[in-house]
Structure formats: structure tokens, C-alpha cells
Amino acid sequence: MTQFLQQLINGLSIGSIYALMAVGYSLVYSIMNFSNFAHGSVIMLGAYFGFFSLTTLGMPFGIAFFIAACGAGFVAVTLERLAYKPLRDRRAPFLYFIITAMGASILIDNGVIATIGPTPKTFPPELLPSYLQSGSIQIGTLGIGRVDIAMFVITAVCLVALILFIDFTKMGKAIQATAYNMKASALMGINPNFVIILVFAIGGALAGVAGVLYGVKYQVFPQMSSITLKSFIAAVFGGLGSLPGALLGSLLLALIETFVSGYISTQLRDIFAFFILIAMLVIRPAGIMGKSAEDKA
């Protein structure tokens, strides 16, 4: 029983990180209709921004966190302007966006290796606020990491705020409208460029938050973007473009992974994850929350 609860907690903790990363994918997907494979690199840069603000610049953690979010948001927007906008202007098909994103990701990751170096970094514990320091709260034999609790709370706050923003504000509706049709939304007086920048900024800022949290929980290193693949799978799992879907998909994927490796076999975990992914898509071709209407002729 203890082991079960422990694994449940492990799963939820990983799930909350997946979720924070997955919503960035989903947000961009919903508006641009392509999977932004450079998102992982933005997460990685966010983590580095946070790390250097805290250590080299000696900022307090809160400020460093803020800088990471802003910096990652800025990178995401820059990427949009330099790499995606020209494609958008030419109405290039989604394949081109994906390839450009991959190219950008290769560029950024290796740029970091070439300049900062490949060595992983850890946030020095003494510079972190107490709620983010390692160590755990023991309930009987159950250990709940303090980081995990903080992370869960921060993720929940970010996601709830985001979902409220998208569903209940005019700006949120404008984002959804632009996601569907840029021309028509421009006719409503919505500036599509502004909306797209906003979406990338939000997605980027969330990436920054995710990057720092990930860095605090694990490490900061240039290949961080490759681990975000899982969060991408989670986004698909939940239904691309759906924020609650991304959240649900993340938690489910994380729990499945945790329980498979905890109870069946660690070797089988990833195979299991991928098989469930394929099985899921066969049963529900647009993910759990994705809408798959019959193609209207």
C-alpha cells in the first residue's frame, strides 16, 4: 500500500511537469496548427536564464524565476518572428513549420553546447527558497518531496489561470478565433500578429517556468529539449490544442509510466507508453479531449 501511494505521488509529480510543458505545445498547436518542436529548446533556455540569473547575477530566486519566464517568452517570440512568420506569410504547409522548428531546435541546443558547454548544472540548494529545497515530508514511510509539492501547486496555479484566461476573457476568445481563421479575426478588429505574439509569449513564459522547475528538480543541461518529447506525447494523448486535454494527458501518461515501471518492469515502461499511445490513437484518433468531427464536405 505504501509503495502504491509512493508511486502515485511520484506519478503526479512527474505529471505536473509534463503538463506545464505540454500546455505550451498545445497552445501553439491550437493557433498555428503545427507541433512546435522547438518548444523543448525554449524550456531549456528558460532553465539556463533562471540558473544564471540566480548564480552569476546573484538575483533573488523570485526575480530569477521571473527573468526566466520573460527570457523564455522573449526567445519564443523571437523564434516566431524570425522563423515562423515568414512561413506563415507564405502560407507554407504545416510540414515546413515542423521542419523549421526542428532546425531551430538543433541550432539552439548545439548553440548552447558550443557556448555554455555540455556540463549539466544544478541549482545550488542554498540559493533556493526553502519550499524548493530537496528533502521530503515524511508521512509514515511515505516520502513526499517538498519540490514536488511546490511544483504541483505552481503548475496548478499556472494552468488554472491559463484556462480561465482562454475560456473566459475576450482576449482568450480572440486567441481561439485567430486560431481558427486569421483573416476573419482581423475583420473583427483582432490583430492576428499581436495574438500570435501573445500566444508565443505565454507559451514561452510557461516554458520558462517549466524549465526552472525542471532544473530545480533535476538538472539544467543542453539536451533538456529531448526529454520534453514525453510532454509532447502527453499533449497528443490528451488531444492537441486542448488545454484540459494536455493536463489530463500528462497526468495519465505519467501515472501509466510510473506504475508500469513500479509494478511491471522498468524495461517495458517506454514500450508500454508508446503502445498505449498508439492504442489510444486507434481508439480515439484525436486524443482524449480532441474533437474529431466527421469531415464536412
Partner: protein, 240 residues
């Protein structure tokens, strides 16, 4: 109110507009008629800044219009686009509310919404349905309704009767008149020249990117050459 000077627009090599000038005065309905591909939609898209004119300019209430559609809409031009550019992923209600995106006057917005529902009861029935699953005609109604919600001074309409049942075509032209009666100015692009000329005050005839004729709607309607080319041998109005 709106004046267009010597507008030239081309798509790559194809010249869609070759020096078009026109005027729209406060409170009138002006219609542009012309065959498929004459450049009518191109004209409207150039006015609202979706296309970059190679030459020429557009002045609205003393402002020279640039290339930012959102800013142009803000100045009080609203455009009902060709085709059914409704937000397919949003509900009918959300579509209508987005029409009022730039508006702050909540009370008047609610009134306008009621007005839209009176004009198009079908929309009220489907208020929660995703706009993308509406039929072609229902979507056209939604696009009209959404435009009414923007409350612009000048309304550009691109083939509002396209794909509508005869009964609804009548309703649409009725609405166009009602919108004018609300004190708005309308620039109407139509294939259904007969109907358009019936409601319009003045008309321009566009052929291959040029204005070949302009004048009062009645004069154009009675011009034998125009009748032959655009109005068909028989009357096109609803019913056989």
C-alpha cells in the same frame, strides 16, 4: 466618406485591379457588380488592408488606409468576407460576441444581439452549436450577424446572398436596407445584380479590373448592355 483613387492590385503576374477609382458617400448603398473574377473581392480586400496595392490609395473619413486590417476595422469599417469565414471551432454565441471585440458599450451590445436574433431566429436555436457544423447558409447568416455586432459605420459586404435560399436572399436584402436605415453606409458586392441594383443607390460595373460604367442604380439597371450581360434574359428574382 470612402474614396478610392486609381487602385492597382496584382497577384504575382495577374493584374486583378487596373486603376479603379470610386466614391462612397455617407448613408448610401453603393453596389459593385461584375462577372466572376472581375476583381470585386480584390477591391474589398485591398480596402481593408489584406492586399498591398501596387499603386493608388484609399481614404476613409480623411484617414489614408494602410495595411493593418485590425486598425482599419477600428476606424469603423466592417467587412463581411466572401465565403463563410466563421470561427468554426467556436460556438455561435462566441462568434457573435467576437464581432463586438472592439466594443465597450455592453448595454448596446446586448440590444444588438437581440436584434440579430430577431433577424435570424435560426441562430438563436443554434446558439451553443459549433459554427463549423452549421450548414452553408446558416454560416452565411452567422457572418452577417457577426458583422452587425461590430457596429461599424461603413459595411463592406462581399456576396452576402451567395448560397442562400431564395427566401433568405430576400431577407438578406431586407436586412441590408435595414442596416442602411440604422444610419450606416454600405458597399455591396454582388453576383445577384438584379437584387443588388434594386436596393442600391449607385452602382459601379467592374470588368477585368476596370470600372466600365458607373451611375445611379436605376440608370444602370435600365442600361440594355448591362441587362444583357448581368441580369440575364429573365428576371432573376425569387420564384420562377
Amino acid at each position: 466618406m470612402l474614396s478610392v483613387h486609381e487602385l492597382h492590385v496584382s497577384y504575382g503576374g495577374i493584374k486583378a485591379l487596373r486603376g479603379v477609382s470610386m466614391e462612397v458617400n455617407q448613408g448610401e448603398i453603393v453596389t459593385i457588380i461584375g462577372a466572376n473574377g472581375a476583381g470585386k473581392s480584390t477591391m474589398l480586400n485591398a480596402i481593408t488592408g489584406f492586399l498591398k496595392p501596387a499603386k493608388g490609395e484609399v481614404i476613409f473619413n480623411g484617414h489614408k488606409l494602410g495595411r493593418n486590417p485590425a486598425a482599419i476595422v477600428k476606424l469603423g469599417i466592417c467587412h463581411v468576407p466572401e465565403g463563410r469565414l466563421v470561427f468554426a471551432n467556436l460556438s455561435v454565441q462566441d462568434n457573435l460576441m467576437l464581432g463586438a471585440y472592439l466594443r465597450k458599450d455592453r448595454k448596446k451590445m446586448a440590444e444588438d444581439l437581440e436584434k440579430v436574433f430577431v433577424l435570424f431566429p435560426r441562430l438563436k436555436e443554434r446558439i451553443k452549436q459549433q459554427a463549423g457544423t452549421l450548414s452553408g447558409g446558416e454560416q452565411q447568416m452567422l457572418a452577417m450577424g457577426r458583422a452587425l455586432m461590430t457596429d461599424g459605420e461603413l459595411v463592406l459586404m462581399d456576396e452576402p446572398s451567395l448560397g442562400l435560399a431564395p427566401l433568405l436572399v430576400k431577407t438578406v436584402f431586407q436586412i441590408i436596407k435595414e442596416i442602411r436605415d440604422l444610419g450606416k453606409t454600405i458597399l455591396l458586392v454582388e453576383q445577384n445584380a438584379q437584387k443588388a441594383l434594386e436596393v442600391a443607390d449607385r452602382a459601379y460595373v467592374l470588368e477585368q479590373g476596370r470600372v466600365v460604367k458607373e451611375g445611379a442604380a436605376c440608370d444602370i439597371q435600365s442600361d440594355p448592355a448591362i441587362r444583357a450581360a448581368y441580369l440575364g434574359s429573365k428576371s432573376v428574382a425569387g420564384g420562377a
